[in-house]
């Protein structure tokens, strides 16, 4: 039996001026099941709220309609008042007779009639309201950080410093990411390794951080506050609990002509190796593909020399489970490669020789040539013959902003690092000349444009506005055929070295990875934020956050800023034992659900799963949909999809809405 109370607010003159509130109050009293109806000048004031509380008790009300301002304004206020009177907050609804009525209409008659209609709709709705409880989700107060680039490192350190445990998973043998490969960094030109290495060491030694390198995410289960992660620890063939990083194995390994990934194939490494001297952890790994023992059963030189017996040829992949409440994804980027045969859908650059000429290199390779710890110890020389290049042509937007190659976005950082490259080159090769082909210069950060100006004004880089159509070799030189659209002429430069500012792409395996986590990605496979402006850190899956270049091209300052933001989100989440959520979530009527799974597919948040119903003998009776309350965001899309009307949304049930519709017009 419904006992509804209606409380009509004048809002001073705001409502009262157009809506005849006392008439409305009287007419509302006559509505079916309304047992009490009253008006007051300011309902939200303390005395106003008191009227509601008193009435609930006095008239034993079980449904409240406040006819006042927008629910977005005072719904919380009145629901709070209702709770104080001992009623479930979700039995209170607001009829918006101010923003949607008195303020937008002049005609008193019309406004008054409409106000009554709005009240009637809410009275009918509230009768169907059910008491709901806010949802409480327990929180595992630790976090997982995937990816150990500068973004992942920053996020992990911030969370760990905030007192929460962090599990970090990095797929390569060392953390550091791309930043570890850089020479000096814009806009200040400080040495990349000098600022990164201490942070890497901190990660390894922090008491709150558990580091898994050479490891990947095998599986993710659960939802916000309660994720269960399976980590695959790939076989290193070196026992990291025994190895002390002495390096004797590396020194003695006879297999030494293997291209070094860290040095972008400009240098070599051994079959047992650490990617670079400052690697964290400083524990070698055996490259099975190239190890003589694995190839033909003989060698084991490393094992012989390791006096701690850390080499373990019989090692296999290990699987480890970790429970966390939140996840930060910081898997970074890949560089576009101009090769002809590409693993993705993008086309390579035939006009630039498909990467065949050793003196046409990409930007990361140039970073390695500039780096004091690089394959040339910081001397800029040509890969083909070791000569010091006197003319270097830099080409921007290679792959980026290029519809014909399938990549329409701007990679954002290449304008800046190209300017940096011209400066560093000039600092090393004083008589050298740098030419840059560009379309636009995008240097919109703090001190960025000044930086580019310096490259032009002080380090005398010649900037040519235009793209390059072709590069070909003519004897000792690379002929670069470009244009300067500012003078409207073709430009031909005979270069010793050509550096391509190739596009920043997402990690190659992003799609299966994102699917594993249940997070979205865009058409280029960058991971998607929940809202481009207001939720740039969140993903659509609650509890999973993004940091760094996995979301979009970013430079270090931005990657670090986003990482700290993600850390603060994680710390916010982990500062509670429990999460509270509004109870507007979908639920399934298991008896009528036919298990068609349409709702599963419609849910953007992957909140719906399959559930097997078994009888007492443990036999499968049927499969039905099951909504994970922790994940459901309450959009209701599934409700309108379900053909058997078996799924409904608490707070916005079919019954409630039909009641509104039925009472809408008299």
């Amino acid at each position: 039996m419904s006992r509804i109370g209606v409380f009509v607010c004048y809002c001073g003159e705001n409502i009262g001026r157009t809506v005849n509130c006392s008439e409305v109050t009287q007419r509302a009293a006559k509505l079916r099941d309304v047992v009490y109806s009253v008006d007051y000048k300011y309902m939200c004031s303390d005395p106003g709220q008191q009227i509601i509380k008193d009435a609930i008790k006095k008239y034993n009300l079980n449904g409240i309609v406040v006819a006042s301002c927008s629910p977005l304004m005072h719904e919380k206020t009145f629901r709070h008042a209702v709770v104080e009177a001992g009623l479930n907050p979700f039995l209170c609804e607001l009829a918006n007779i101010r923003e949607h009525c008195s303020w937008v209409h002049d005609d008193k008659r019309n406004a008054t009639d409409k106000a009554l209609d709005l009240i009637r709709m809410m009275v009918e709705k509230v009768k169907k309201n059910l008491p709901l409880d806010t949802i409480k989700i327990p929180v595992t107060r630790r976090a997982l950080v995937i990816g150990g680039g500068v973004a992942g490192i920053q996020a992990a350190l911030d969370i760990a410093d905030g007192g929460k445990e962090v599990v970090m998973v990095e797929k390569s043998p060392s953390i550091g990411g791309h930043m570890a490969q850089l020479s000096e960094t814009f806009p200040t030109l400080d040495c990349s390794q000098c600022i990164l290495t201490p942070k890497m060491v901190d990660v390894n030694s922090h008491k709150n951080i558990k580091l898994y390198t050479y490891s990947e995410i095998e599986n993710v289960k659960g939802y916000i506050g309660n994720f269960e992660i399976t980590i695959r620890k790939k076989t290193r063939y070196v026992d990291d609990s025994i190895c002390n990083g002495c390096g004797i194995c590396i020194e003695k390994c006879p297999q030494k002509k293997i291209n070094s990934e860290f040095n972008t194939n400009l240098g070599t490494r051994k079959a047992i190796y650490v990617p670079f001297p400052q690697a964290v952890p400083n524990i070698p790994v055996i490259d099975k593909e190239n190890c003589t023992y694995f190839k033909n059963g003989k060698c084991k030189v490393c094992e012989k020399f390791c006096d701690r017996n850390a080499i373990k040829f019989e090692q296999t992949d290990e699987f480890i489970k970790e429970n966390v409440g939140a996840i930060v994804v910081a898997t970074g980027f890949d560089l576009y490669s101009i090769e002809k045969e590409r693993s993705d859908n993008y086309q390579g650059y035939g006009e630039y020789g498909y990467g065949k000429d050793p003196d046409i290199i990409n930007s990361l390779q140039f970073e390695r040539l500039l780096s004091a710890s690089g394959p040339t110890l910081g001397e800029v020389t040509r890969p083909s013959d070791g000569k010091i290049p006197e003319t270097v042509v830099f080409i921007q937007c290679v792959g980026s902003r290029d519809k014909s190659k399938g990549i329409e976005f701007c990679s954002k950082i290449c304008c800046m690092y190209t300017a940096k490259h011209t400066m560093l080159y000039k600092h090393k090769v004083h008589n050298g000349k740098a030419f840059v082909f560009y379309m636009d210069i995008r240097a919109a950060g703090k001190n960025y444009d000044e930086f580019v100006r310096r490259a032009i004004e002080e380090d005398e880089a010649i900037y040519l506005r235009g793209r390059v159509s072709r590069i070909y070799r003519e004897k000792d030189k690379l002929i670069v055929k470009g244009a300067d659209t500012l003078i409207g002429k073709q430009v031909e430069i005979a270069a010793d070295l050509v550096v391509l500012a190739t596009a920043m792409l997402p990690q190659k395996d992003t799609v299966p990875f994102a699917q594993k986590l249940g997070i979205g990605y865009d058409k280029y496979h960058f991971l998607s934020e929940a809202h481009p402006k207001l939720k740039p850190i969140e993903t659509n899956t609650a509890g999973i956050f993004l940091a760094g270049a996995c979301q979009a091209p970013k430079d270090i300052p931005e990657a670090v800023a986003q990482a700290s933001a993600a850390a603060s989100k994680v710390l916010g989440l982990c500062s509670n034992d429990q999460l509270e959520r509004e109870p507007y979530v979908a639920y399934v009527n298991e008896s009528s659900c036919i298990g068609c799974e349409f709702c599963l597919q419609s849910c953007t948040y992957s909140a719906i799963e399959n559930k097997s119903i078994v009888n007492s003998k443990g036999e499968l009776v049927k499969k039905v949909a099951y909504v994970n309350k922790g994940v459901c965001q309450g959009c209701g899309t599934c409700v309108s999809i379900c053909r058997s009307k078996s799924i409904d949304l608490a707070g916005y049930t079919d019954e409630q809405i039909y009641s509104e519709i039925n009472s809408m017009f008299v």
Binding site: M439, R465, G466, K481, A483, D484, T485, G488
Partner: protein, 192 residues
Amino acid sequence: MKRKLETQITLNTLIDSFSNEIKTLSKVNAYECYQCGKCTAGCSVGDFLEETPNQMMRLIQLNLRDEALNSKTPFLCATCNTCTARCPMDIDIAKVMETIRILSEKEKKKNVKEVSKFSKIFLDSIKNHGRLFELGLTARFNIENKTPFKDSELAPSLIFKGKLSLLPQKIKNRKRIKKIFDNSINEKKGVE
């Protein structure tokens, strides 16, 4: 730059008529061009141009129809398709050149008269014989172009080598070629 620099143009009638015209005729939306200059960079005849290919695209963007139709560029274009092949925006620039050239020809704008004349004589030749009569073509071109001795050193050995026949090869069904010419060129719609 050989050309007299006109430092000012007046864009008072920025209606999209020309860019729309090009769009209908060549299916190219000129506004997709972001003026990167890659077409210019690779243009085979770049050394000989006044307006570069990207500037031709710009003229369309600004709806400067007269300037475009009076440009020599479309006539000097060797239709090599390099620009089209490499344009990062997938714009068929060669097709645009061809379209402008046809418009210019139709409206008797300023153009490169040798090229224009050559085309006419070439087409006349095949219209008459069904196949190209190279000796006749060269001779007539040189006469009309007032360069009677151009390439004359080549002719004797060509004839000697049996490469240049003195009489045209004719096809049997000459009506067929005539129909094709009449039906496509005399059609009122013109270009398309």
